[in-house]
Symmetry: C2
Subunit: 107 residues, 2 copies
DNA sequence: TCAATTATTAAACGATTATTAAAACGTCGT
DNA sequence: ACGACGTTTTAATAATCGTTTAATAATTGA
């Protein structure tokens, strides 16, 4: 189970329109990731602002980066995403599934 | 699918240690909820501070309240919780489940 | 109605955050 | 080594957030 402080950090990182958009784009993209500039162009964000938000997402463990030539590729960390969700729903309704009657989730 | 602004609001509401603890307590409790004072005592939070955080959680749609005599009972809204999770994981890995290889979730 | 209990509101302070513009850093092709 | 490109850092500003204290509302029982 994740540490509460890490969960708070991850939630705070996603609680911002630009970062949420970045993250969703990376989640939909998958492990191969996208170059910083591609994301900046897609979301119409300045490079400086982009770096600022990447740093927050990285520090929260939600994304990881790898350098490829002049490009820096960012990709979502799915382990942390799922850890965050599990933390939120832990012991939901005291463990009585029937109460929540919500569908199961893929990914 | 939830609106981005509502998702941001919900994430921001949970991105705070006290509110995250409140919310988890309510998620584990289930629909019957808990009285404000009970939660304040359990989490060692002042009543004023408690009200402040309840307001944030309510405004984000994450909890709902009902008055019973002098007590106000708060309960988690599971629909919003699941909507938030679905928003984050939408079209994960371009819809290719195998890539994320994460377990499905109950609740 | 009075006093006690439960919860909310309002004002004030310090701390954190998002954005912009400018400068700096690394990498590549020539 | 040089210039161009992609990205990051720094500094400065305005805006937002969490906590405390004190005052206010609403409900109950004597």
């Amino acid at each position: 189970m994740m540490e509460p402080t890490q969960v708070v950090k991850a939630l705070a990182a996603l609680a911002q329109p630009t970062r949420l958009a970045i993250y969703r784009l990376l989640v939909a993209t998958g492990p191969e990731g996208l170059a910083a500039g591609q994301i900046a162009e897609t979301l119409k964000v300045s490079p400086a602002n982009m770096s600022f938000h990447f740093k927050t997402l990285s520090h929260a463990g939600l994304v990881e980066s790898r350098q490829d030539g002049r490009f820096v590729y960012y990709a979502a960390n799915f382990t942390v995403m799922n850890g965050m969700v599990d933390y939120l729903t832990e012991n939901c309704c005291g463990g009585n599934d029937a109460v929540c009657k919500t569908p199961t989730r893929k990914c």
